[in-house]
């Protein structure tokens, strides 16, 4: 070993001292060059191996390598420390106020009526019903005659129904689509039909001369009133909540027999709140009319009434939406104030 030559651990100690002094990444790099660069001190030691006595060579080599490894580790640590501090400083400088207003093109909202129809249709489609539609301007035949309405049924009066001529009117219900469908298609028939209906009501908070219904029809072999109950109970639970109960009350419609109105238990207060905005304390809310398709209706479409039975129902769309969303005036649907529509985004 040459005279005056530093020992590896001395060099390491020196380098460690220099690293501790280093103020930035460049200083760290300078240390690396000074000790591990091509002309660095530790590199020089390795180059000087030839000058070492052969019997000391192994131990010397080990000592140098140990020092080199240690220094490399130290260098890496210091380098990362400086890099990390630099990134932190940059990130700090880039801080933004996340509570500032967003920048976006606000999305529009589908109309509440469309949303409600889609929700109702979605439930029945999942039960295998297809969507079909009929005309808003309808014949007296499809709207009344074919639906077993007595020739003198009061709903036929001009005081109830809008007429275009003696034989043509604005449909008062979506039920004419039942007959249109039965004429177009042999059983099994399993359809719903959403659409607009018209009655000569002067607009007020609960009446509108135009409104929407979703009609439903199932005609097949072996369809029973029990099936009607099961189907509408399933619908009510999905529409208003899994806990609601349904109540079927006898009622009258010319085109169904037996007929029923369906109440759903109050999904808001459960009948607990006497001032409930939905049920007014009764605990029940009427949601739809339904019944077993009258044989006279099936006969219009030449369907064998001994072989086939069916049920039909009609859901009021506005009423359903009003109940579900606490809307207290039906006219809001047709005023189309963006502040109303936007609430149902």
């Amino acid at each position: 070993m040459g005279v005056g030559m530093k020992k590896p651990d001395e060099i390491l100690a020196e380098a460690r001292g220099a690293l501790e002094q280093a103020q930035d990444a460049q200083a760290v790099e300078d240390v690396r060059i000074r000790y591990l660069g091509k002309k660095g001190e530790l590199t020089a030691l390795l180059r000087s191996m030839g000058e070492i006595a052969p019997e000391e060579r192994k131990a010397f080599g080990q000592a140098v390598n140990t020092a080199k490894d240690a220094l490399e580790t130290l260098l890496q640590e210091r380098k990362e420390a400086f890099a990390s501090a630099g990134r932190s400083a940059q990130l700090a400088a880039e801080r933004i106020d996340v509570t500032e207003p967003s920048r976006t093109v606000p999305a529009g909202a589908r109309h509440m009526i469309t949303q409600t129809i889609d929700e109702i249709a979605g439930i029945f489609m999942s039960m295998g019903y297809s969507v079909t539609e009929g005309p808003e301007v309808e014949t007296v035949f499809f709207n009344f005659d074919a639906l077993n309405a007595a020739p003198d049924h009061p709903s036929r009066d001009m005081s109830d129904t809008f007429y275009i001529s003696d034989d043509i009117l604005l449909r008062t219900q979506t039920s004419p689509v039942q007959v249109r469908t039965l004429l177009a298609q042999a059983p099994p028939v399993k359809v719903i039909s959403p659409g607009r209906c018209f009655r000569t009501d002067t607009p007020d908070a609960t009446h509108s001369p135009m409104f929407h219904q979703v009609e439903g029809l199932l005609v097949d072999e072996g369809v029973t009133m029990g099936d009607l109950k099961g189907t509408l109970d399933a619908f009510a639970k999905r529409m208003f909540g899994a806990d609601v109960k349904t109540k079927f009350r006898p009622h009258f419609f010319p085109f169904t027999e037996p007929s029923a109105e369906v109440d759903v238990s109050c999904f808001l207060c459960g009948g607990e709140d006497p001032s409930c905005r939905v049920c007014h304390g009764s605990g029940w809310i009427e949601i739809l009319g339904c019944g077993m398709v009258h044989p006279n209706v099936l006969k219009v479409a030449d369907i064998d009434t001994e072989r086939y039975t069916g049920f039909a129902f009609g859901v009021g769309v506005e009423r359903t939406a009003m109940l579900k969303h606490g809307i207290d005036d039906i006219r809001l649907f047709y005023e189309n104030d963006v502040r109303f529509i936007g609430q149902f985004y």
Binding site: G108, A109, R110, H111, I113, T114, F124, M125, G128, S130, V131, T132, E133, E136, V137, E138, T139, A150, H153, M158, F162, I164, S165, D167, I168, L170, R196, F198, T200, P209, M210, L218, D220, T224, G226, D227, K229, G230, D233, K247, F248, R249, P250, H251, F252, P254, E257, P258, S259, A260, M292, P295, T309, F333, Y334, E335, N336, D337, V338, R339
Partner: protein, 834 residues
């Protein structure tokens, strides 16, 4: 149908809580509209006797009364009224308070007189509607309570007897006795908590428009026997020995049996017209009818009780005692008992005597033969008139009465006899007159009873139940039906009043509602039908998604509109927008035609939002338009898509809306919409409007049009034929491989005349670009320095790429040169040096 519960319960044994009655009636099909209990919150109202009445010294219309409200115990200690008044007055002057309770009350009622018995609300009394009565002074005179009108106690104006309608309630004769003084008025009158249920009667159940009909339901629901109606038959033994019979007074002939299947006339003599007994008045009032006099009240009572209208004539006005049921002469004038002269037509059924009309059958009696205070002998008509005829006449005359509204729903001929005999029984019972034996009963073709054959198995198949034939029979018998069971067959004879029961399916409903809808087992029908939607429905969903995503909100507007709207948008000369379908009976001119375009409704909505101060409205609607076709066919209905936008500060921009349109077209697989500048449509700004291929128009509204709607902002809009779009839409997507070779981009800037459109340039570029031109995009438009006046510079970015190789510079240069050459020759464009 208002039903006083105690009246209904007269025919059914057993008393049940009103809550239970309500619940079970509803669940068996008699829905309830309203329920009330009379006088629930009324206290402190006693019967008083008016002792004295004198004018209020300081008022023209007020009087001061002294009213005795002393309770029974104190009363008996005193003598005659005069002495009492004297003693009371003496005590008052001495400043003492007497034992008797005589109140001074000021009232404005015009009908109060000494000796009347009246309801008095004393100090602290509570009346309906939360009114509390306190002592006070009225124009300087002490008033220690209030003499009540019937209305103030809770009766509707329309049921209060005429003589006390506009004043205080002078109590009926039964209560004009000193023993009632000081007693609780509502208790004495039997009104305290009198329960009334208002049932909703469906059009198929005219039998339920009667107390007895509801009692039949009530009895069936509780499975109790229905008590028969008490009647006085024409051959009743108690009538023997009268000497005369009805037939001595009346002969009946029906000339139009198709309009009047049956007419029964009975006769009562020695009639004294007076008030009917309170029990009858009370029931009438609770059921919603005004008491008039004993004979009229009996006819109304029976109409309410049995649902059969009754008319009474003064027999001295029936010439020759002859009744002829026939149609009127066309143009015949007739004055009904409301004093109105009416002109009849040849289809009006008229009750005539030997020389003239005396009543419009089933609608209203004649003034010439009505019951007056002088009437002593009456003819009681119980007749069956057919529903269609009465409905027609009632409609034609614009005259709807309690009688006509019942006839037009159907009154069975069998019921006439019961009704007629019931009237006679009530006349005898109340002593209103002497009923003669016999009747003039004209019934040319007696109706056979309806018998319905029903199969228990079939009924079970409809209901999803397993009810035995015998159990079904038992349920039906509860409704007074005759039932014969033969194996699984039921032979059913409904009561005559159930005219709604005609066939098997009708009985399935009767079985179901008495069995209980709640007991029907709930199930789901098993089938293998799967769901689907039309392409139109599907495309509507897609468009709603695209448009709301682009910031538009959806609206819904009326299908019927004002014809003016088309003129407001300047399209009054467009035959496709004026082929109106008109309503015969619109709510008003503003809703009188079916819409031919969605734009006027859209602009109304925009204007409404604008007027309400909303910053922006960016809206769309998908809805039907209607176009008249040839006579008496359904109009053509086409779905239209309309969008429009205003933004305060003039921000509604054509190109943004065009972008929405492109997005929609792209989503429908229709490529970029071809816009053709259009300047001749009065609806639109001539310089900012384009036809969208064959689908419709996009543009900025003509400022005159937005001004007509009062929208003081630029409005951009489009309206497209949705049905055509839906039909053309390609919703399937096919994968194309991602490019394997690099693209070669090139930019070119062109100087062109102002009137050369970007679309024209792009079209030339695309045409000459050939298969290797992948895309073209306009990225800059420049006017100003370096560009001559009247010209503009447009810069396009072109991307070239081949599917199978890397394009060489040489190839691309060649194509680009071809494009530039064509642009120069076809559009006069000059390449601008970079």
């Amino acid at each position: 149908m208002k039903v006083p519960v105690s009246w209904m319960e007269e025919y059914v044994s057993g008393r049940f809580s009103q809550e239970d009655v309500a619940e079970r009636m509803v669940m068996s099909g008699s829905n309830i509209e309203a329920q009330e209990r009379f006088g629930t919150n009324v206290t402190g109202v006693v019967i008083g006797k008016v002792l004295e009445v004198w004018p209020h010294p300081d008022s023209d219309h007020l009087v001061v009364c002294r009213v005795d409200v002393t309770r029974g115990a104190e009363r008996t200690a005193h003598g005659a009224i005069d002495e009492l008044v004297a003693a009371e007055a003496a005590a008052a002057t001495r400043g003492e308070r007497g034992e008797r309770e005589v109140l001074q009350i000021v009232t404005g009622a015009p009908n109060v007189s000494a000796g009347d018995f009246v309801p008095v609300a004393v100090h602290g009394a509570a009346l309906p509607g939360g009114v509390t009565i306190k002592k006070g002074k009225l124009r300087g005179e002490v008033s220690e309570g209030m003499i009540c009108s019937a209305q103030e106690l809770g009766f509707d104006d329309k049921v209060v007897p005429m003589h006390c309608k506009d004043g205080i309630w002078t109590l009926p004769k039964e209560f004009r006795a000193d023993k009632y003084i000081g007693t609780d008025a509502l208790d004495a009158l039997g009104l305290r908590f009198a329960s009334v249920i208002d049932f909703e009667i469906t059009p198929n159940r005219p039998d339920c428009l009667s107390i007895y009909g509801m009692a039949r339901e009530y009895a069936a629901v509780y499975d109790r026997p229905l008590e028969p109606i008490e009647v006085l038959a024409r051959e009743d033994a108690s009538l023997a020995g009268a000497g005369q019979t009805a037939e001595d007074f009346v002969k009946v002939q029906i000339a139009k049996p198709e309009l009047c299947p049956r007419y029964i006339a009975r006769v009562a003599t020695d009639v004294v017209i007076e008030d009917s007994p309170w029990w009858m008045q009370q029931r009438l009032m609770l059921a919603g009818m005004r008491p008039i006099n004993n004979i009229v009240d009996i006819t109304n009572y029976v109409m309410l009780e049995l649902g059969h209208p009754i008319h009474a004539f003064d027999i001295t006005e029936i010439a020759g005692g002859e009744i002829l049921v026939d149609t009127a002469a066309a143009g015949e004038k007739f004055t009904t008992l409301d004093g109105t002269e009416r002109t009849l037509d040849a289809d009006t059924l008229l009750i005539k005597d030997g020389r003239r009309g005396v009543a419009i059958a089933g609608v209203m009696g004649g003034l010439n033969s009505e019951i007056t205070d002088a009437t002593t002998t009456i003819l009681i008509e119980a007749a069956c008139f057919t529903a269609a005829g009465i409905r027609r006449t009632s409609k034609k005359l614009g005259l709807r009465t309690e009688a006509s509204s019942r006839y037009e729903k159907g009154v069975p001929a069998e019921l006439a006899q019961t009704a007629s005999d019931r009237v006679c029984q009530l006349i005898q019972l109340t002593g209103a007159g002497k009923v003669l034996p016999g009747a003039a009963d004209c019934y040319p073709a007696p109706q056979a009873k309806t018998t319905i054959m029903a199969r228990a198995g079939r009924i079970n198949a409809v209901l999803g139940t397993g009810i035995s034939a015998d159990d079904m029979a038992a349920l039906l018998r509860r409704l007074e039906m005759g039932v014969e069971v033969k194996g699984e067959q039921l032979l059913v004879t409904p009561p005559a009043v159930r005219i709604d029961l005609k066939e098997e399916i009708d009985l399935s409903e009767e079985v179901a509602r008495l069995y209980g809808y709640d007991k029907l087992p709930a199930s789901l029908h098993a089938d293998s039908v799967s769901s689907g939607v039309s392409k139109s429905w599907f495309v509507r969903g897609i468009l709603r998604e695209v448009l709301t995503g682009a910031g538009l909100s959806e609206i819904a507007t009326y299908s019927f509109v004002s014809p003016e709207g088309v003129a407001l948008i300047g399209a009054q000369n467009d035959p496709k927008k004026t082929d109106f379908v008109r309503l015969l009976n619109p709510l008003g001119e503003e809703n009188s035609v079916m819409r031919t375009t969605l734009l006027p409704n859209m602009l109304e909505v925009l204007a409404r939002n604008f007027n309400r101060g909303n910053e922006e409205a960016f809206l769309f609607e998908i809805g039907n338009t209607f176009h008249a076709t040839s006579n008496n066919e359904l109009p053509s209905e086409r779905l239209s898509l309309c969008a429009a936008w205003y933004l305060r500060g003039g921000g509604a921009d054509f190109f943004l809306l065009k972008g929405v349109l492109e997005k929609a077209f792209a989503r429908l697989g229709l490529g970029a919409p071809a816009l053709v500048p259009t300047d001749d449509l009065p609806t639109w700004h001539p310089g900012r409007c384009a036809a969208v291929a064959e689908y419709g128009v996009i543009g900025e509204l003509h400022p005159d049009v937005s001004a007509r709607y009062g929208i003081e902002e630029r409005v951009v809009a489009f309206e497209l034929d949705f049905d055509a779009l839906a039909e053309a839409a390609v919703t399937a997507r096919e994968y194309s491989p991602l490019p394997k070779f690099p693209a070669a981009p090139r930019d070119i800037a062109l100087i062109v005349d102002e009137d050369v459109t970007a679309g024209r340039l792009e079209a030339v570029i695309r045409e000459k670009g050939g298969r290797t031109l992948e895309s073209v995009a306009l990225f800059d438009i420049y006017r100003g320095k370096q560009v001559p006046e009247g010209k503009k510079s447009l810069a396009f970015s072109l991307t070239f790429r081949a599917k199978d190789r890397t394009l060489t510079d040489e190839e691309v240069n060649k194509t680009q040169a071809r494009i530039v050459k064509a642009l120069e020759s076809e559009t006069g464009a000059a390449l601008r040096d970079a």
